[in-house]
């Protein structure tokens, strides 16, 4: 994880050393202690205490040379203190035995990268509800406070605290293991991890109020690439997020949503595009395409174009065809239909949209796409109806504002 991640969304411009280390090292420290003590709550409490101590001591004595290692060691000592004082600890001590062997064994131990991987697979275990997978991942691996997680879910802090406690209780009571899944289970388990990270990204992308989630998701994506460098879909997800992120400065102007066709492409983040393109090229060389890699490839084609008109739409439709063959969902069909509109024209697009209209009747973007297509076909009334339906269904304020604007624009037009 590099420092540049922290500046992606500019969320922590004045972070102190402790805050910076917290973001970067919290998850790894919890993961290491969870492995040593076999208890997530104990690990979390100890790591939090270590950061409280750090806040005092680092300010006074300066930041130690290996801050992450300092946190792990301090937290480990705290956890041992807790265990010695509790009756349960006596039992645990007998079972584990080794953790009292002292600092020599762990020393200034750097967290093993496998620790984090284990914890990610625990947090995203399919026996947990998706919303709880997301909450645990943000809290334990993303280093977000309970309050921050609560805000990204639009619930109160006590409600989120309760949800996290319940989820951690299930992990412990049901015996969800801290283990990297075996080779045979890895693809299906990894899918659930990747979808959690992408869900976090999209939650941040859909709602400007929760924009910081995008940076959190990218950080998690980078960590996953470090942990699983040979999994092409892991790289694909990171590329997809980087390429989407590169366009964010042009997508959101003064709180208003700007469509791809109208975006000021000079505002796109070239460094991020380069990063995304380079991953996509590696994926193509590997030749093991999957849904995330193909979506990243589609974004890569968009980012390659100097203007909307100059986009290689045939290439994009071909990639959507490939994507649909591995991920035949109505949303993929919808996006393909939009691309068809650009490569073959609005008549073909409308036919393609009609084929998913029933399935996606409650999805605002389907109606928005219909609105845009009908508008191109000169069917003003039908376009208005579609936009109005889209506005009713829109999930966020920014989208509603955008759609209202389309409706106003269309209403004021006269067709001569």
């Amino acid at each position: 994880m590099g420092h540049e991640d922290l500046t992606i969304v500019g969320a922590h411009p004045e972070a102190t050393d402790v805050e910076r280390v917290f973001r970067e090292a919290y998850g790894a420290a919890v993961a290491t202690l969870a492995r040593v003590f076999g208890d997530i709550s104990l690990a979390e409490d100890a790591v939090q205490e270590a950061f409280i101590v750090a806040n005092d001591r680092w300010r006074r004595d300066g930041t130690p040379p290996n801050p992450a290692g300092w946190i792990v060691t301090t937290a480990r000592n705290r956890a041992i203190d807790h265990l010695r004082r509790s009756a349960r600890g006596q039992e645990l001590q007998e079972q584990v035995g080794t953790f009292t062997a002292g600092a020599d064994r762990w020393g200034e131990v750097a967290p093993v990268s496998d620790d984090q991987l284990r914890l990610i697979f625990t947090c995203c275990h399919p026996a947990l509800k998706t919303e709880n997978q997301v909450a645990l991942t943000l809290r334990l691996l993303g280093g977000l406070s309970v309050d921050e997680v609560a805000r990204s879910f639009l619930v109160t802090e006590p409600a989120m605290a309760k949800r996290l406690v319940r989820a951690k209780h299930k992990i412990k009571a049901a015996g969800i293991p801290y283990r990297v899944p075996q080779r045979a289970e890895l693809p299906s388990r990894l899918r659930s991890v990747l979808s959690v990270v992408y869900l976090i990204y999209n939650t941040g992308a859909d709602d400007p109020e929760r924009a910081s989630l995008r940076g959190d998701a990218i950080r998690l994506g980078r960590a996953l690439v470090d942990l699983l460098p040979d999994e092409p879909e892991v790289a694909g997800l990171l590329a997809l997020m980087l390429l989407s992120e590169s366009r964010m400065p042009a997508r959101n102007v003064d709180g208003a949503l700007v469509l791809l066709r109208d975006q000021d492409r000079t505002k796109w983040d070239r460094t991020m595009i380069e990063g995304g393109h380079s991953i996509v090229r590696t994926c193509i060389r590997r030749g093991q395409p999957g849904p995330y890699q193909l979506q990243a490839a589609i974004q890569a084609v968009h980012c390659n174009a100097d203007s909307y008109e100059a986009t290689d739409w045939h290439q994009i439709v071909a990639l959507y065809d490939h994507l649909f063959s591995v991920m035949p969902t109505p949303v993929v069909a919808l996006n393909r239909a939009i691309a068809v509109g650009e490569s073959a024209g609005p008549d073909e697009a409308l036919t393609a949209l009609d084929s998913v209209a029933t399935e996606l009747d409650n999805y605002h973007l389907m109606h928005a796409a219909r609105g845009a297509t009908l508008r191109r076909l000169g069917q003003r009334e039908a376009a208005l109806t579609a936009y109005q339906r889209a506005a009713q269904l829109a999930a966020t304020e920014a989208e509603r504002r955008f759609l209202k604007h389309q409706i106003e624009e269309l209403s004021s037009l006269t067709w001569s």
Partner: protein, 122 residues
């Protein structure tokens, strides 16, 4: 090592309301279940298990007005009831879920997996 309850939740498919299983299908079912239980017993997974009679054979016993009363029928009126269960030993939830998948494959009904509290001193 933990213990898990694998309970089978069945609708009213047997008895008066449902179609009785054809003899060949019943034979195949018994063979699948027999093979699975043999596998569970061979490696110490099996603790206890069995198939239950239909829920209308149940009796609920409760304390009421300082005495014990009995009522005919299951505790909760429901379309689905526990039709049988296994109690198994498993290292962790993943191991228990893997056994649950085998049970589902054998009996073609959904399974609920629940952990037991750890037995003190075990």
């Amino acid at each position: 090592m933990s213990q898990y309850l694998l309970s089978v939740h069945t609708g009213e498919t047997q008895g008066e309301g449902g179609e009785p299983m054809a003899p060949e299908a019943m034979q195949a079912f018994m063979e699948r279940v027999g093979a699975l239980e043999a596998e569970m017993k061979a490696n110490g997974t099996f603790v206890f298990g069995g198939r239950l009679h239909d829920a209308d054979t149940a009796t609920v016993v409760r304390m009421q007005n300082g005495g014990v009363t009995m009522t005919d029928g299951p505790f909760v009126e429901s379309k689905e009831h526990i039709g049988g269960f296994y109690i198994i030993n498993a290292d962790d939830l993943d191991a228990a879920l893997a056994w649950a998948a085998k049970v589902v494959d054998a009996i073609k009904e959904p399974i609920e997996v629940r952990p037991f509290f750890a037995i003190s001193g075990a």
